[in-house]
């Protein structure tokens, strides 16, 4: 059963185009979700919700006119279409005819999370807490979160596109606090995917244990060094650096506004020849994967850096049309309350030949940055700052003491150029990416990567 009947969708698009427009689109969505947390020894905040709504958009030249509404009733949709059309000043256009939406190639969901009894989800959090506490007597708090969501989306546009997708995601997250003599350290870990309950059937407690081990390790942390040092960035969540410092600069909206340091650099060598990077929204089951993007374009693998050279930007329909290229399937939106903008899906460096140990063995004194608490990048310059949430000194080719309070300060282009080793241990982690006021599921990842030199802002004097 469709959310919006194709005949009604056609009328909405007609009404949206009464005063002109090159492209009209109706995006309809039904979302449902459930989440639960465990904190302070208690299972709490069980909450669920159901939303239905739509966004109507008309593109004319460089301008976008759009409106969105809670609800999918015929009168809601027609009212939004009329209101959007009010912004335009041209001649009526006729949309192409619409067929029933073609379902996207979905990602397999073996066990529907909404069919699992809520008490089992509560029990999962309890057993995670137990495992976290068992990791060490110094574990003082464990905070666990479970979230599931299902989004049914339909996209119709005036070029005759009619596509649908059914997306299910689950994610388990753990945040563990360890204390010793007034010192307090936090460790986190997550497991998430475009998948069903099966993702959490194999040793989900491992997530809690890893978070606990990180917190316990940090209790022994020493002050971070300051200065220019070689840095090995960890696999999985270490990919945040690529995501923030490079990926955002490759999104075509930033490029077209010349707000990116990567503008005008297609084909240029930015990194050594052994460096290749992808954005891939089609990877089965990964957190940032979907069947289609939020404009109905099938997701795919885009090589953004090929053997060191910048090979593609990331496009949605609007920016692709401007550059006379095809959308790369990166037109994503948080919900029907937003218009799509070019966004990463799962972004990662291709695995290399080395092992993590080999990368580390070559360093006399440096920093091993396993994961980041977050960071910020100025896309116009590529300047970035990242807080290292789990990091270690490298001394004499070996990982030694954990450090606290380290930040990495640098520039995306410089960091790319300074990559001097990539390991083979690719891992993709589940994060949320914020841009233009919209938060979307984004897979970040990489194998271990070594950077010849970066500025480390430490706490040691």
């Amino acid at each position: 059963m469709t959310l919006v009947d194709p005949a009604l969708a056609a009328r909405v698009l007609e009404r949206a185009l009464v005063r002109g427009g090159e492209l009209a689109e109706l995006y309809a969505e039904a979302r449902q979700g459930f989440s639960l947390s465990l904190d302070d020894h208690r299972v709490e905040r069980p909450q669920g919700g159901r939303e239905r709504g739509a966004c109507v958009r008309v593109v004319q030249g460089e301008s976008t006119y759009y409106g969105y509404i809670d609800g999918l009733e015929e009168e809601d949709l027609l009212r939004v279409a009329d209101s959007v059309a009010q912004g335009l000043r041209g001649e009526e256009r006729r949309p192409a005819s619409l067929a029933a939406p073609t379902p996207a190639n979905g990602h397999p969901v073996l066990s529907r999370p909404e069919a699992i009894e809520a008490v089992r989800k509560a029990d999962l959090l309890r057993s995670c807490e137990e495992r976290a506490r068992a990791a060490g007597a110094e574990v003082s708090q464990a905070r666990l979160g479970y979230v599931e969501s299902r989004r049914s989306v339909e996209v119709y546009n005036s070029d005759g596109r009619a596509a649908s997708d059914d997306r299910t995601r689950v994610r388990l997250s753990a945040q563990v606090v360890a204390r010793r003599n007034g010192r307090v350290e936090t460790g986190t870990d997550t497991r998430g995917g475009h998948a069903g309950w099966e993702l959490l059937e194999t040793d989900p407690e491992e997530v809690a244990e890893r978070a606990a081990r990180r917190a316990l390790t940090q209790l022994d942390a020493v002050d971070a060094p300051t200065g220019r040092l070689p840095v090995v960035v960890g696999n999985g969540f270490g990919g945040v650096l690529l995501h923030e410092a490079v990926g955002h600069g490759l999104e075509a909206d930033a490029i077209q506004k010349r707000a990116s340091v990567y503008a005008g650099k297609l084909g240029e060598r930015l990194a050594p020849g052994f460096v290749t990077a992808y954005d891939d929204g089609s990877r089965p089951g990964d957190w940032g994967s979907d069947g289609i993007d939020d404009e109905g374009t099938p997701t795919r693998r885009t090589t953004v850096i090929e053997e060191g050279r910048l090979s593609s930007y990331l496009y949605d329909l609007l920016r692709a049309r401007r550059d006379g290229v095809e959308s790369t399937g990166n037109g994503r939106r948080e919900s029907f309350r937003h218009v799509p903008v070019p966004r990463m899906t799962n972004t990662f460096f291709a695995p290399g030949e080395a092992t993590a140990d080999e990368l580390i063995a070559g360093i006399e004194r440096g920093l091993y940055a396993v994961s980041f608490g977050g960071g910020q990048v100025e896309p116009a310059t590529g300047d970035f700052v990242f807080g290292v949430s789990e990091g270690y000194l490298i001394e004499g080719g070996r990982v030694s003491a954990p450090v606290r309070g380290a930040t990495l300060v640098g520039n995306g282009l410089e960091a790319l150029g300074a990559i001097d080793g990539i390991a083979g241990d690719l891992e993709i982690a589940s994060g949320y990416c914020g841009k233009a006021g919209q938060s979307v599921a984004a897979g970040v990842g990489q194998p271990h990567v070594r950077i010849r030199e970066l500025t480390v802002g430490g706490t040691a004097s």
């Binding site: 904190d39 302070d40 709490e44 909450q47 809601d76 977050g374 930040t407």
Partner: protein
């Protein structure tokens, strides 16, 4: 406020009780908003939005659950109420949970401006274009990444099974611009922002001009040498830090051991120069309302005064746990989320010196106009931080060369105690919460550069 909203909230509350809840509360909401984004002298996007929904909190004895939905029909509301009631079964018992004992409303006026409805879309577009022109007009500005005008008009109705029923409407308008100066790897950005209850309260010349000037001031920035020195935080940066500190004054953070202020109520935690209050009744405050997210009246709560930490911020649950009264601090982002403890409008009491004065007192040091990665860079439990920053050097009591690619490090309590002077020019800063702050002079921080 529309009667339909109050009616939907009442029906939702009743439906939760019929479904077996022992207590229930419903928050119904309706809003419209408009946004104009311009680029290069043209409309880049124009949007019109309508939202409506209801969120229900159901209590079954000492357990509680939450559910929300967009369907305000009779059947839709019943479905939401029943889902909340079912969710409650999964939760563990919480002896402190439950509706507030002291519901009520504060007298807060002028939240909604009738002026907003009189503004046509054309005039709003013109305002956004004027912001962009003002930024572009400054010599040296190479690009205005975006200039945006937004407004919103919303109504809420809150009803609970203890007989509370109230509602209000509010309007908000704001505009901002992001300007670029310089080129290539030397490209610098600057943000200008203004807000009010309606577009007439916005000054496009000031907003665009601020974006331009903040970008231009950074052109040619270099990495400074590492040292310890006095630091002047501009109002944007001061507001970011105060917002972060405000979040740690939530009794929820304190009771759950996530605040470095736990156990420090009544203690000297700041320099006496710094006075901070949370005020949910300030007529200018973007977060002002007559009641909080669970129906307790809002109020002004002094947090830091004479250097002492006077109180934490409480909702009904944390107040019960601490044997205190709610401070009206249950906040809601929308009907999609249950109430949680937070700040309303954080207001820093202005001091005597203007920015020039603060820079003169600093003598030699750093003026910070932007910090990056604050939330990642601060350890919320220990308060230690190291965050990326840019700004200008201060030499011989005057602003000097621009600097970037540096970090400033300290810990929040040391920083609060090191505040030497508070600026006289306070302004509303709408990002990362609602804060009204002036610039602050901090006696010493570790600046790490080359």
């Amino acid at each position: 406020m529309s009667g339909g909203l109050a009616e939907a909230a009442r029906r939702a509350t009743d439906a939760a009780l019929s479904a077996g809840a022992t207590e229930a509360e419903a928050w119904a909401e309706e809003s419209t908003s408009r946004q104009v984004r311009v680029y290069d002298g043209d409309v880049e996007s124009l949007s019109d939005a309508g939202g409506r929904g209801v969120g229900v909190r159901a209590f079954v004895g000492a357990r509680s659950g939450y559910s929300y939905g967009t369907d305000l029909s009779d059947g839709g509301v019943v479905e939401v109420a029943e889902a909340a009631r079912r969710a409650a079964e999964v939760a563990d018992e919480d002896e402190y949970g439950g509706l507030p004992d002291d519901s009520g409303t504060a007298a807060v006026s002028d939240l909604a401006s009738p002026e907003l409805a009189g503004w046509s879309t054309e005039r709003k577009v013109e305002l956004a274009l004027a912001v962009e022109r003002a930024a572009r007009a400054r010599e040296g500005v190479t690009q205005v990444e975006n200039a945006v005008y937004s407004d919103a008009e919303g109504s809420v109705a809150l009803t609970n099974s203890r007989g509370f029923a109230a509602g209000y409407s509010a309007t908000q308008a704001w505009a901002y611009a992001s300007a670029f100066a310089g080129e290539g790897a030397e490209l610098m950005t600057g943000l200008g922002v203004g807000l009010g209850r309606d577009p007439a309260a916005l000054d496009p010349e000031a907003i665009g001009g601020e974006a331009a000037e903040r970008a231009l001031a950074l052109v040619g920035a270099r990495q400074p040498q590492s040292r310890r020195c006095p630091v002047v935080l501009d109002a944007f940066v001061a507001a970011s830090f105060i917002g972060f500190i405000g979040a740690m004054l939530s009794a929820e953070a304190v009771q759950r051991g996530r605040s470095l202020f736990a156990g420090r109520e009544g203690e000297h935690v700041a320099d006496p120069a710094l006075a901070v209050a949370d005020d949910g009744t300030d007529p200018e405050g973007p977060a002002s309302a007559p009641f909080d997210g669970e129906g307790s009246p809002t109020r002004r709560t002094a947090l830091l005064e004479d250097g002492r930490l006077l109180t934490f911020l409480f909702d009904a649950r944390t107040a019960r746990r601490a044997g205190r009264a709610s401070t009206g601090s249950a906040t809601r982002r929308s009907y999609r989320s249950p109430p949680s403890v937070g700040t309303t409008n954080l207001i820093v009491e202005p001091g005597a010196d203007d920015l020039d004065g603060l820079v003169r007192i600093a003598g030699d040091g750093l003026y910070v106009t932007d910090v990056a990665g604050l939330h990642a860079g601060v350890n919320p439990v220990s308060g230690t931080f190291s965050v990326g920053a840019s700004g200008r050097l201060i030499e011989n009591g005057e602003l000097a060369a621009p600097v970037r690619e540096l970090t400033i490090a300290s810990d929040l309590v040391s920083m609060l105690k090191a505040v030497r002077a508070v600026g006289s020019e306070a302004r509303w800063v709408p990002f990362g919460g609602s804060v009204k702050a002036p610039p602050l002079l901090v006696a010493e921080m570790a600046v790490s550069g080359s």
